[in-house]
């Protein structure tokens, strides 16, 4: 048992090294070989349930697992401390993970398909922009971003409650397009020229300053990394707890069979409203943070295309499994940038890549496992 934990820990360390190399490499060959390594490792774990034993062992020690994850990312951050670009990519991935965990609560758990993710992400971003411009404390601006996104979402509650499946999808698609077009046409919020934002300033700690600790120096993106990591971790734990609870059970029942759910006294509307609001809240928070990290936002950051990217991450990761979102986000966000060396051919190759993945893993990278309310005790 304990040795399993140790092995898992080692696995995290190896993963950390892999991630570090993956993010920092500029060499085509190293990049390619890293991909190959990942695929092989994945295939291996699929073939023989080698990972299972350790995963289960780790599942019984959630705190330990979280610790390892943090250590691994910390290690990566240490390795990348003075390389702004990989750090930025890592932050971007983590913040998108937060948003996608939100979508996952909606789509994966409660079955509400949301094709307006970017709209709620954007709502958060613009809220943060406006508030920070008026000198509102940044921490509050970020939280407000989430709340406003949730409120804007409540505009859609009625149609979302009445529609299902693709009909609900259309409602959100329509809203997403409506949102970005509105931002672009209406110059009240900067119009197509967008808005500038200040870097985050938490209680006097200025995130946009490079860090000087004694002799060592680190890129200012380390600040954002810490924040994004904290957010991602919190969102993950939150989503996990929602899933492994009566709430999660109610969500699943609603998703799988509304009629049956209703006859057993489950409030369909209540479940859907909770899921939809929670999801938009997370989208908004991550959007607000992302905007302040970027320092600039414009309507075409939040188009229908971006919503599709968010949905793609959720689907690719394996609908309903927050854990799958992390590798999926790496694929969807980092790989296209890593493919810069083939310039205009990037998206061709990238598209083929994703299709291949889905043909080999139709259920997504990490399909959702059976619910286990209290894994820590089912050892």
């Amino acid at each position: 048992m304990r040795s399993h934990i140790a092995v898992a820990a080692a696995a995290f360390a190896v993963g950390g090294v892999w991630l570090w190399a993956f993010l920092s490499t500029d060499s085509v060959w190293l990049f390619a070989s890293l991909i190959v390594v990942a695929v092989l490792a994945f295939a291996f774990f699929q073939r023989f349930d080698a990972a299972g034993r350790y995963r289960r062992a780790l599942a019984t020690r959630p705190r330990r697992a979280a610790l390892f994850a943090v250590l691994a990312v910390a290690g990566v951050a240490g390795g990348l401390r003075d390389q702004a670009y990989p750090l930025l990519m890592l932050c971007t991935v983590l913040l998108f993970v937060v948003a996608c965990i939100g979508l996952n609560i909606q789509t994966g758990y409660c079955g509400i398909v949301n094709f307006a993710g970017a709209a709620f992400f954007g709502t958060g971003a613009y809220t943060a922009a406006v508030l920070s411009a008026h000198g509102v404390p940044h921490l509050f601006a970020i939280v407000a971003g989430g709340i406003v996104a949730a409120l804007v979402g409540s505009l859609l509650i009625l149609p979302v409650l009445r529609t299902r499946g693709y009909y609900a999808a259309l409602v959100t698609i329509a809203f997403g397009i409506l949102f970005s077009t509105f931002l672009e046409v209406n110059s009240a919020l900067g119009g197509p020229q967008g808005l500038k934002l200040p870097g985050i300033d938490l209680f006097g700690w200025r995130f946009n300053r490079d860090i000087q600790l004694g002799g060592a120096s680190a890129s200012f993106y380390v600040n954002y990394l810490v924040l994004s990591l904290a957010l991602a971790l919190a969102a993950f734990v939150f989503a996990r707890r929602v899933e492994r609870s009566w709430l999660g059970l109610a969500f699943d029942a609603v998703r799988l069979d509304e009629t049956a759910a209703a006859t057993f006294g489950i409030g369909i509307a209540r479940a859907k409203i909770i899921a939809f609001t929670l999801g938009n809240l997370l989208c908004g928070i991550s959007g607000a943070t992302y905007a302040m990290m970027q320092g600039f936002i414009a309507p075409n950051n939040f188009t229908f295309g971006e919503s599709l990217i968010l949905v793609s991450i959720v689907i690719l990761g394996g609908i309903g499994n927050p854990l799958g979102i992390v590798p999926a986000a790496l694929v969807i966000i980092v790989v296209p940038q890593k493919l810069q060396f083939i310039q205009e051919y990037r998206f061709l190759l990238y598209g083929c890549l994703v299709i291949l993945i889905l043909l080999f893993r139709p259920e997504g990278l990490l399909p959702r496992p059976l619910r286990n309310y209290f894994p820590e005790s089912s050892a």
Binding site: L158, T163, L170, V171, A174, T181, V185, G305, I319, C352
Partner: protein
């Protein structure tokens, strides 16, 4: 408003509506047999247009210049090519993912769409720029006050409607159409009745995509210009039209197509605010419609028995 101008608006709206309807019917057919959304459908339209373009250039090079002949050859080429593409999509991308959640099909076809776009952009000569589409139809025009009616537009309008009607007849009247509808109703029962499910799916996708290909030709001949990136928006609008009309119902798709065209026309000319809001308007109305009729204007199926 001046009647001539009104007539002009109406006619433009109709033209637009036919193109949307042709795309929407494809969506609704696919959904009927497999309950999936083929998100690359809009890009199939685009591909169809480019196949047509290439064919017409080839014919030109061969010195074949009889417009009527050229048009027919071009349309057939686009239709057949896209039919093949559609069947291939069904066989190698959609059917393999049947077991998986329906939305995984969506992701795959989404990626396929961007692949089609990029392929045309990169490998069609100077593909990242708009391409001129030859004027193959007689452009004699008649001016009635402010209303300019061009023969080619009329021909296109008629052709578009005719194709949709044909597809509808195939689905409603033929034995094969019966098979399609059987699968659409309940694929398991259809199977047990000895219907070759896979074949039905492939042919349905072929038909829908052929329709899209022809829609591409109509698009090209009407606008006399095609660009590699027309697909995404056409796809979204086609999807919207199909859903608003009621997925699974051909009439719904047609209704939705014309409705959407009408909304956009009204949005760009009849609104007090800037015409740039026309999409805001159109999609806002869509949201309201969905709230009012959650399963589309022509409901998909009778409310299921609990």
């Amino acid at each position: 408003m001046d009647p001539g101008v009104a007539a002009q608006y109406a006619f433009n709206g109709l033209m637009l509506g036919v193109i949307y309807a042709m795309v929407a019917v494809g969506f609704t057919l696919f959904f009927g047999v497999l309950d999936v959304i083929q998100f690359a459908h809009g890009d199939v339209v685009m591909a169809g247009a480019f196949v047509a373009l290439a064919t017409s250039l080839a014919l030109h090079a061969l010195g074949i210049a009889v417009p009527a002949l050229v048009v027919i050859v071009v349309a057939c080429a686009a239709g057949l090519a896209m039919a093949l593409v559609g069947a291939l999509i069904a066989r190698y991308l959609v059917l393999p993912l049947r077991a998986a959640p329906a939305f995984n099909t969506l992701l795959v076809t989404l990626m396929l769409g961007s692949i089609l776009r990029e392929l045309v952009r990169l490998f069609y000569p100077n593909g990242s720029n708009p391409q001129p589409f030859p004027r193959l139809l007689p452009t004699v025009s008649k001016n009635l006050g402010n209303f300019t009616l061009r023969l080619d537009s009329v021909i296109l309008l008629v052709t578009g409607i005719a194709t949709i009607v044909m597809v509808n007849l195939v689905v409603r009247r033929t034995r094969f159409g019966l098979a399609i509808r059987a699968v659409a109703q309940d694929s398991d029962t259809a199977r047990s009745m000895g219907i070759d499910f896979e074949r039905v799916v492939l042919v349905t996708f072929a038909i829908g995509s052929a329709l899209a290909g022809i829609a591409g030709v109509v698009y090209g001949l009407y606008y006399n210009e095609v660009n590699f990136d027309i697909g995404l928006l056409l796809g979204v609008i086609g999807f919207s039209a199909a859903v608003v009309g009621g997925l699974g119902s051909i009439y719904g798709a047609i209704l939705g197509g014309f409705l959407f065209a009408a909304l956009q026309t009204i949005g760009s000319v009849a609104l007090p605010v800037s015409s740039a809001y026309n999409n805001v308007f159109a999609f806002a109305v869509v949201i309201i419609l969905m709230t009012w009729k959650p399963t589309g204007l022509i409901a998909e199926r009778p409310s299921e028995r609990a």
